[in-house]
Structures are given as structure tokens and as C-alpha cells.
């Protein structure tokens, strides 16, 4: 046996480079860095440009100087926006809408996902796919029927939703619930079956299994879904544009565009400032939740 394993050292060495693991890894890392840096530049340039512009006065913006440099930095735009009641109203509306939408979304999609992932009932698999399919319907297709529905709703009940900020609280979950449910189904499905069986034997009801086992274990998923729901409702543009018109009912994205663009006059400094300030809350929410958003919470539940 040993003879077949002997390497013939006299044989001419071929100029083939054998793939060494570390060399492969080094190259993979180099390419990774290259594309990551490229991607970072690509996505960070617009916010940087917004920041630069927000620090300029209107005069400097329209002057033909280097657009990438601020010669006379000023906080004038910030002061004006933050002292403007209008802007603060937009901000408040956005905050109310987003927080309510996130709450409603979680209250619906977490139990829904639990039911679809664990309580095997007739048609649950089809229903789970159906939930995802509803997410694929674009909002631009949905707003007309929704508008019509609210009009009929007004005719029947006398309650006017169109034109009020809270109409968005009703509308946004059509976007957030399907996707969040889908995310949570994935997370719940990854929890070992034995864990809920152990809970059932320990005497937990379905509700206790959900609240005391599934939600804590799937916390990273819950946070991912929360971030998603918050981002969607904070940044949504089409629905508020369609459903709200009077200035005191507007949310940030639409508010900035409709009040700071007057005819063909673009107040670029304030638009950029408003957009930048508007982008801050999702960033803060994200940074805050990032600490909890760590994978591997199921580690230790079962073998591995």
C-alpha cells in the first residue's frame, strides 16, 4: 500500500499553481473590499452632497462656485426649518403615522406568522404564499381602489378618512403587514419544533408559547421587521401624496416637496436640510436597534 502513496520527487514540476486556501481567501477579500468601497462611495455621495448643500445659503447655491465645497457655512436653513411650525407639523405627523403603523403591523403580523408557521391548519401553506403575493402588488396599482374604498366608506359611515393624516395608518399596513408576516414566518419556522413541543408539555398555551418562547427567541427577526415597517411608513411617498392634501395633514416626504418647491422655484438649501433631518429618525432607530439585531440567539437551544 505504501508504495502507491510515494510521491515521485524526480518528476518534473509542472507550472500549475495549486489553489492554496489562503491565497484564494486573500483574493476573495481584496475583491470584497474593492466592491464594498465602491458601493459605500456610491451610496454615501448623495447624502454628503445633501449635507454640503444644506450648509450653504441660497446665494451660494446659485453661485457658480465649486458645488463640493462650502465657502460660507451657515446653519440658516436648519434654523429656519426647525423654527417653522409647518415643518414641525410634518415631522409630528410622520412620527405618529410611523409609530402607529409599526405597532399595528407587529400586532397583526407576529400572531399571523406564528399561526402560519406553527399551527398547521387546512390551507395554511397556501395562505402563507398568498400573504407574500399580496406584497407583490405595487402601491401605484392599489391607491385607486383604496381611494374608491375610502370614498364609499365615507358615503356609508359618514367618516371622512381621505385628507386626514390617519388615513395613512389604515393604508400603510397593506404594505408592511404582508412583508413583516413573511419575515416572521421565516424566523418562526427556523425555531426547532421541539422547542414548542417542550413548551406544550411544560403546560404553555399557544399564546404563552408565542409570547414567552417565540417572541424572545425570534427577537432579531422581530427587530428586522420593525425596522422595515418603520422605514416603509417613514419614507412612503405615493400614498400621502394621493390621500392627504391640506398642509397640516402632510407627512415629511410630501410636505418638503409641496411646501419648499413653489412653482418652479426650488428652495434647494431647505429641501436638502429637510431631507437630511427627515432621514435622521430611521437612522437613529436603526442604530439603536442594531445592538439587539444580532443573529444567533437560538444558539444553545439544540445541538450545534
Amino acid at each position: 500500500m505504501a508504495s502507491t502513496l510515494t510521491i515521485d520527487k524526480a518528476a518534473p514540476t509542472r507550472s500549475v499553481k495549486y489553489g492554496s486556501m489562503s491565497r484564494d481567501r486573500t483574493w476573495a477579500l481584496r475583491w470584497s473590499y474593492f466592491f464594498l468601497v465602491l458601493f459605500a462611495i456610491f451610496s454615501l455621495v448623495p447624502p454628503l452632497y445633501m449635507l454640503i448643500t444644506s450648509l450653504k445659503s441660497s446665494a451660494e447655491i446659485s453661485a457658480a462656485t465649486n458645488p463640493w465645497w462650502v465657502f460660507h457655512p451657515t446653519l440658516e436653513n436648519y434654523v429656519q426649518l426647525l423654527t417653522s411650525n409647518q415643518f414641525l407639523t410634518f415631522f409630528r405627523n410622520s412620527a405618529f403615522v410611523s409609530i402607529l403603523v409599526v405597532t399595528i403591523t407587529m400586532l397583526i403580523s407576529v400572531p399571523a406568522a406564528f399561526a402560519l408557521a406553527r399551527m398547521r391548519f387546512w390551507g395554511s401553506a397556501t395562505l402563507a404564499t398568498g400573504v407574500f403575493l399580496t406584497y407583490l402588488i405595487p402601491d401605484s396599482l392599489l391607491f385607486l381602489p383604496l381611494f374608491k374604498m375610502f370614498a364609499v366608506f365615507h358615503d356609508v359611515t359618514g367618516i371622512q378618512l381621505i385628507g386626514k393624516w390617519y388615513v395613512l395608518v389604515v393604508v400603510y399596513p397593506t404594505l408592511t403587514v404582508p412583508f413583516c408576516t413573511w419575515i416572521m414566518i421565516g424566523y418562526f419556522a427556523s425555531i426547532p419544533k421541539e422547542l414548542d413541543e417542550a413548551a406544550v408539555i411544560d403546560g404553555a398555551s399557544w399564546f404563552q408559547t408565542l409570547t414567552r418562547i417565540f417572541i424572545p427567541v425570534a427577537l432579531p427577526g422581530l427587530i428586522a421587521a420593525t425596522i422595515f415597517a418603520f422605514t416603509v411608513s417613514w419614507a412612503q411617498f405615493l400614498y400621502p401624496l394621493v390621500f392627504t392634501t391640506s398642509t397640516d395633514q402632510l407627512v415629511l416626504p410630501v410636505g418638503i416637496i409641496t411646501t419648499l418647491v413653489k412653482g418652479d422655484v426650488f428652495n434647494w438649501g431647505q429641501i436638502m436640510t429637510g431631507a437630511l433631518l427627515g432621514a435622521a429618525p430611521p437612522l437613529i432607530v436603526y442604530a439603536f436597534l442594531m445592538d439587539y439585531y444580532i443573529a444567533g440567539l437560538t444558539a444553545g437551544a439544540t445541538k450545534g
Partner: protein, 366 residues
């Protein structure tokens, strides 16, 4: 504490019948092991006792009460899973007390029960850790602790040692036996490992294809298997099955294996097999330890023959030898000093006092 009774229990999944009518009586305090190859229905049976699976037909009784439609939490059972199934976000103590807290036990009672179980399982210093900080063996102890603190009527174990390495498995096996000797709770234990079954059980239930092949104490199953399946499943290395038939020669009964090899049956065996048809296709069942090197002064019923060995496996205290008889590979156990060599001849002796005769067609031990 309670006895567990299964009456004609059937489990059918759409097309497949996983459990085909099982009758089983488990006495109070008894440690019963369900053993069999994968897919034999042993885990399904356990899960039906736990209430995690509905039964299609039949009755399951715990402590004399029919529990067919009783939910798991009201059956007063505790289960230990193969993958431990610890709650990852809870500490060891919280894991163990979860069931008691749901039932709103007083805090002092919970604490004393955790302390007692932790002492019994030697995990006192681990109670504040999270499962991910524990090794596999420690996790399995915690899973057992979770079962013990509940003080249930029945313990159910679903292959609890399969995820542990071989050395730890032996250690935990002893641990489980110790715990059972202390708490004396009726236990149903599922495993595919016949060694675990033999070492742990008061009684072993051998299952195959959704049916019970045989129920008995470990020694009964080993020495008096009822079927070829049980004979082959229990014992390692497995029992040899050599094609043979019976023949009469000068008024005595012989078992003929090849044209050249035939052994006269000892009187007790001859009497037992007298009624077997002479042309019946039979199998001679012999455990490896009953095929040893020939001695100078053989006991009655021990017959010598010559064999050429294919492979030898030195195990230290003994050497396993493999040779071929009538197309069947046969394993024997010889003394390490018997001179066994691969490819070499060896004079062996077969102990016919411990032989089994099986009907080749039906697989039943005669």
C-alpha cells in the same frame, strides 16, 4: 407515579401506517426501552404517549385513565428530547422552572425543587448560565433537570443520548440509570442503540415496521429471541445466520451446513427439533461467542470444525474472526492467543447448546 398502558394503538399518516396496533403494559416504576431501526414507529409511539401526536385508533392509559384526548400538559408527563430543546433565552434555572412557573407554584417550592434536581444532576454551579454556554452533556443534564423538577407521572426520553459523543454517551447512560434508581419514576425511553436498550431497561420492547417484535428483559431477548429480527438486532457483533437443514443419521439428529460440515445435535436440542420437517430450509443462529477456538477437551455439545479465516479484528481481550460458510459471512470470538491469522486456517468449535434454529421463510425461532 403511574403505569402506562397501550391498547391496540394505531397511527396512520394519510397513506402510511406508522404504528400498526401496539399492545404494551408498562408497570409503575418500570424503565421500558423502545428500540428498533429508524422508521420502526418507536418515536411515534412515544410521541403518542406524550400527546404530541394524535392516535388514529386504540387507547392510551396513564395511571388507569384513558388519555386519548387529554392535551400533553394535562397528562402529567415530562419529555427529554434528542436535541435537548432548551429555551435559549432562559437561564438553566429558568429553563427548569418554566413549567412550574406556568402552573404558578410558590417561589420557595420552585427554588427547592431546582436545588434538589441540580444537586442530583451535578449542575448546581450552572443554574445561572444560558444554554449556549453549556456543553452537550451539560445541556442534556439540564433537559433532564427540567423533567425532574416537574415530578411527573411518567418520564419520556426520545433518543436523549444520540447527539453526544461515544464516551459521554456511556457516562450519561449511567447518569440516567442513577437518576431512575433515585426517583423511580415510570420511564419510557426510545433509542435505536441496542446497547443503550440492554443496559438501561428493565424491559426492552423491540419494534420493527410499526409492530412489536418481542418484549422481554435484556437477558430474555439476548438468549431467547423470538424472531430473526430480534436475534439479529440485539447483540453486537450480531448473531450469525447460517443456512442449514436437519437430517437423520443412524437414529440421531444432525444439523447439516455443507456437504462436509454437519454437527450432531445435543440431546436436549434434538428433542426440541424432532418435529421439524427434514426438508425445511432453516437457519442456524449462532452468537459469535459460541464460535470459539477448539479446546483439547470439548464439553458435550461443542463440536469442532475447520475454517479458513477471511479477516481478523483484534479487540484486545478477544479477537473477532470472520469466515464464510455456505455463502454466509460468519463471525466468531476467539482468544487473542488462539493463533488466528487473516487468510489462515483455524480449528474452531461451535457450542450447539446455545444454538438457535430459525425457519428461513418466516424468520421465526423454532
Amino acid at each position: 407515579m403511574a403505569d402506562v398502558t397501550l391498547r391496540k394503538v394505531i397511527k396512520r399518516y394519510e397513506e402510511v401506517e406508522a404504528v400498526r396496533g401496539i399492545d404494551l403494559d408498562i408497570a409503575d416504576h418500570e424503565f421500558v426501552v423502545l428500540v428498533g431501526p429508524s422508521g420502526c414507529g418507536k418515536s411515534t409511539t412515544l410521541r403518542m404517549i406524550a400527546g404530541l401526536e394524535d392516535i388514529t385508533d386504540g387507547d392510551i392509559m396513564i395511571g388507569g385513565d384513558v388519555v386519548n384526548d387529554v392535551p400533553p400538559k394535562d397528562r402529567d408527563i415530562a419529555m427529554v428530547f434528542q436535541n435537548y430543546a432548551l429555551y435559549p433565552h432562559m437561564t438553566v434555572a429558568e429553563n427548569m422552572s418554566f413549567g412550574l412557573r406556568l402552573k404558578r407554584y410558590p417561589k420557595a417550592e420552585i427554588k427547592s425543587r431546582i436545588d434538589e434536581a441540580a444537586r442530583m444532576l451535578d449542575i448546581v454551579e450552572l443554574v445561572d448560565r444560558k444554554p449556549k454556554q453549556l456543553s452537550g452533556g451539560q445541556r442534556q443534564r439540564v433537559a433532564m433537570g427540567r423533567a425532574i423538577v416537574r415530578n411527573p407521572k411518567v418520564f419520556l426520553f426520545d433518543e436523549p443520548l444520540s447527539n453526544l459523543d461515544a464516551k459521554l454517551r456511556v457516562q450519561m447512560r449511567i447518569e440516567i440509570k442513577k437518576v431512575h434508581q433515585k426517583v423511580r419514576t415510570t420511564t419510557v425511553y426510545v433509542t435505536h442503540d441496542q446497547v443503550e436498550a440492554m443496559t438501561l431497561a428493565d424491559r426492552v420492547v423491540v419494534m420493527n415496521h410499526g409492530r412489536i417484535e418481542q418484549i422481554g428483559t435484556p437477558n430474555e431477548l439476548y438468549h431467547n429471541p423470538a424472531t430473526r429480527f430480534v436475534a439479529g438486532f440485539i447483540g453486537s457483533p450480531a448473531m450469525n445466520f447460517i443456512p442449514c437443514r436437519l437430517e437423520e443419521a443412524s437414529g440421531k439428529l444432525n444439523v447439516r451446513i455443507t456437504d462436509r460440515i454437519a454437527f450432531p445435535l445435543p440431546p436436549a436440542r434434538a428433542a426440541r427439533y424432532q418435529a421439524v420437517a427434514r426438508n425445511e430450509r432453516l437457519l442456524l443462529g449462532l452468537r459469535p461467542e459460541h464460535l470459539a477456538e477448539a479446546k483439547a477437551h470439548p464439553e458435550p455439545g461443542v463440536e469442532p470444525f475447520d475454517a479458513v479465516l477471511d479477516v481478523i479484528e483484534p479487540m484486545g481481550m478477544e479477537t473477532l474472526i470472520y469466515f464464510t460458510l455456505e455463502g454466509a459471512q460468519v463471525c466468531g470470538r476467539v482468544n487473542p492467543n488462539a493463533g488466528a491469522t487473516a487468510g489462515g486456517p483455524l480449528r474452531l468449535a461451535v457450542d450447539l447448546n446455545n444454538m438457535h434454529l430459525l425457519n428461513e421463510g418466516t424468520g421465526v425461532v423454532i
